[in-house]
């Protein structure tokens, strides 16, 4: 939490002025019972109409000035809180952007979204409330007590007994319930885990007919959660009745001794009324204070969760110095590379060795889960190799500044993701200042020219969120075009032509080959037809290269490749 407070630093002025104005407003509020006392004693008591009007005007004035201070306090507190949250959100967003895929996989997208949105809002309102109310409530409570002393020292001792008693009750309940709320959270997590396990393991559970057992287990956890919740609820339920009783006992006592003191002329009726008003004010403030503490506790929990995300350091250590230029004949080299994902038991890639010359086309084929995507994800350093070296232009990828490395590479991921905006906006992701000619060139190579031609808006055609208004094949072609706009040295197509028909796929590959300049191209596919004309074909099976070479060689030498080819060739032949 403390680490997050640095984002409040620029709002030091607001953070001081907010509470200050709030205290000013509270001071005016503390004056009200005194004014009413004078109205009752001097005004009504002596039937002095002019005095009553004057005092009423004073009340209105106090109200107006109080309101202005309150609004000013609100303004400063809101400015500080919103500004703080904006900075924090920006910092968190930047931090998340710097994390590697390894950390993003572990954290989970939904978790990060929650941190960015609901936790962030919780913290923002926590800061706002703290600035406005944290000082105010105790100020009013103790202020009322002090004001009571100015009214009548003897009666004010009731406050000296009642206020600590109230605080004792409020804090006892809070201290008792906060650890219990943590317990509730733990029990809730258990229920959550039960639910999640039953979703992820649904096939196993059904295959073994364990539904009844799982239901019984869930019910048990659910009952435990409910029991704890009811127990905490029961404790919190004491708060209002207890504080109410204490305050009213104090009021009864005040009126009782007040009656005696008025009777003997030591006190006036207005004074008793003022004492009563101060006591009531305390009750109102105490309720506010208790609610405030709950909100702040929640905000703290959220702040800690956000803090925890900040504490995750990217496993990618980035070099900021540009490595020396080397002229090697190889564009990409893998030297005995292995990859094991965090928390995974088995290696996803084992002892991968291969080299690719500039301008070559590499085909990567293998069944689902054979490690094709894992392999290409190592080139732009989305993950770091667990062992071995990945070299681009003869330099280890770990020695590049990420921006330099990734600028060389155009990757088209398996899942075609487009963003809301015009086609032109989407195409400019790789190159901010791409001209329409450059964009159209890329689109034509990607075989998406006709799609643009069909839209009467042309490049201004608005793609909806997630590319919902395009077909799967159209989306894929646009994602390929997007990668081509920046004319990358290395182009990686990670199964990104899967939704294209064979003719379009072939035309795409032909166009890619004929692209001006020397581009090294990786084509990942499950279809032999997509890669059979590649300069080198890597055949992957269970994370290992089981065959490497040209189509004809592999057909002869590599069983896995022949099996894949036969199965598809026969299918196609039908």
């Amino acid at each position: 939490m403390r680490k997050l407070l640095i984002y409040l630093k620029d709002y030091r002025k607001e953070s001081i002025l907010g509470p200050l104005f709030k205290l000013l407003e509270a001071s005016f509020e503390l004056l009200v019972p005194i004014v009413i006392k004078s109205i009752v004693d001097t005004g009504i008591g002596q039937a002095n109409k002019v005095y009553i009007v004057k005092m009423c005007l004073l009340l209105v004035l106090l109200g107006v000035v109080g309101m202005i201070s309150s609004i000013t306090a609100q303004y400063f507190a809101a400015k500080a809180a919103v500004g703080f949250a904006t900075k924090l959100r920006r910092a968190l967003f930047k931090h998340i952007g710097q994390l590697s895929y390894t950390e993003i996989d572990t954290l989970g997208t939904s978790c990060m979204i929650t941190r960015m949105t609901s936790d962030m809002n919780q913290v923002q309102s926590g800061v706002n409330l703290t600035l406005r109310l944290l000082l105010r409530s105790p100020f009013i409570v103790f202020g009322s007590m002090i004001m009571a002393f100015t009214v009548d020292t003897h009666a004010a001792f009731t406050f000296v007994v009642a206020v600590p008693a109230l605080f004792a009750v409020v804090f006892a309940i809070m201290i008792a319930s906060i650890p219990l709320y943590k317990k509730v959270q733990q029990r809730l997590d258990k229920v959550l885990n039960s639910t999640r396990e039953n979703l992820t393991g649904v096939r196993v559970i059904r295959a073994f007919g364990l539904e009844e057992k799982e239901i019984a287990e869930f019910d048990k956890r659910n009952e435990e959660l409910t029991a704890t919740q009811k127990f905490v609820g029961g404790i919190s339920a004491l708060m209002n009745p207890l504080t109410y009783v204490i305050i009213n006992l104090a009021i009864i006592w005040l009126i009782y001794i007040g009656a005696f003191r008025v009777s003997t002329g030591l006190l006036t009726q207005g004074a008793v009324l003022a004492l009563y008003n101060y006591m009531s004010q305390i009750l109102v403030e105490l309720i506010k204070f208790a609610n405030l503490i709950i909100s702040i506790t929640k905000a703290f929990a959220s702040a800690n969760r956000i803090s925890a995300v900040f504490d995750i350091k990217s496993s990618l250590v980035e070099k900021d110095v540009m490595p020396e230029k080397l002229h090697t004949e190889y564009a990409v080299e893998f030297r005995n590379v292995g990859l094991r994902y965090k928390n995974a038991q088995d290696e996803s890639l084992t002892n991968i060795n291969f080299s690719v010359r500039h301008g070559e086309v590499v085909g990567i084929i293998g069944g689902t889960g054979s490690g094709k995507s894992s392999l290409v994800n190592l080139i732009p350093r989305f993950y770091d190799a667990t062992y071995g070296e990945v070299l681009v232009n003869g330099i280890n990828v770990k020695d590049y500044p990420l921006i330099v490395l990734r600028d060389k590479i155009g990757i088209v991921p398996q899942k075609a993701v487009l963003f809301k905006g015009s086609i032109r906006d989407n195409m400019r992701w790789g190159k901010k200042d791409a001209t329409d000619e450059e964009i159209m060139e890329a689109i034509t190579i990607a075989q998406a020219g006709e799609i643009v031609a069909q839209k009467k808006e042309g490049l201004d055609f608005i793609i909806e969120q997630g590319g919902k208004n395009l077909s799967g094949g159209q989306r894929q072609r646009f994602t390929i075009a997007r990668a081509l706009v920046k004319k990358p040295e290395i182009l990686i197509l990670d199964d990104s032509a899967s939704a294209l028909d064979f003719a379009t796929d072939a035309a795409l590959r032909k166009a890619l080959r004929e692209m001006p300049g020397k581009h090294t191209i990786f084509i990942v596919s499950q279809r032999t037809s997509s890669i059979q004309h590649a300069d080198i074909i890597l055949v992957l099976d269970d994370g290992q290269i089981v065959g490497m070479g040209k189509h004809e060689e592999l057909l002869e030498k590599c069983d896995v490749y022949r099996e894949i080819y036969d199965s598809q060739f026969k299918k196609e032949a039908k």
Binding site: G45, G63, G66, M67, S70, I71, Q74, G108, S110, L188, V191, L192, S194, T195, R196, N198, L199, T200, V202, R203, I205, R206, E211, E214, I215, F218, D219, N222, E223, L225, T226, Q229, K230, G233, G234, S236, A237, N240, P241, L242, Y244, V245, N248, L249, I251, I252, I255, Y256, G258, A259, F260, V262, S263, T264, G265, T268, Q269, V272, L273, Y276
Partner: protein
């Protein structure tokens, strides 16, 4: 139009879960009304007691002790009823949540695999965990607060009218102004 129907339909489903607790709900409503009425009655009694304190030698001790006794009883009753109401509300809320989760979990066990595969697990989990919590918090607690709020306003209005009509109307006109102050 269609959306509205869906909402009404959902509300009906929700009410089914609460139905089991309708007697408790009824008790809760009665208790809320009683608590509010008693809470508002206390200041009136206090006002009367202070009215009996006029000046030196002019204090009606007999009336005051009777009133203070009455206040004591009212306060004791209020706090007991309030405590009881809190308990019942807790019970309704947590039990409804429990029942919904129970049912949802049984549903998971029979959901077609195609549904489970097509929906991110996190989404289904968050429905059963946080959405159910939100629902309980929002609908049930919201309802009880709304109800006490309305009863408080209505009862205050009636009590004030009983004391003085003119002042009541001044308060009614000025209240919206003061709302901006209390935040």
């Amino acid at each position: 139009m269609k959306k509205q129907n869906v909402q009404i339909d959902n509300l009906r489903k929700v009410l089914k879960y609460i139905k089991e607790y309708r007697i408790l709900m009824l008790i809760s409503i009665v208790l809320a009304t009683a608590t509010v009425a008693l809470t508002l009655y206390v200041p009136i009694l206090i006002g009367r007691a202070i009215d009996c304190i006029i000046g030196p030698g002019n204090v009606d001790f007999e009336a005051i002790s009777k009133l203070l006794f009455k206040i004591g009883i009212t306060v004791a009753a209020t706090c007991t009823l309030q405590w009881l109401m809190n308990h019942i509300n807790n019970k309704i809320t947590y039990h409804v949540v429990r029942d919904i989760r129970k049912k949802a979990f049984r549903k998971i066990e029979i959901l077609p695999l195609s549904y489970i595969d097509a929906h991110p697990h996190g989404e289904i989990v968050s429905r059963i965990i946080s959405d159910v919590d939100q629902f309980a918090d929002g609908l049930l607690m919201g309802f009880s607060q709304l109800f006490t709020g309305i009863v408080t306003i209505a009862a205050t209005f009636i009590f004030m009218l009983a004391i003085n009509v003119k002042i009541t109307f001044i308060v009614v006109i000025l209240t919206p102004l003061s709302l901006s102050l209390c935040c």
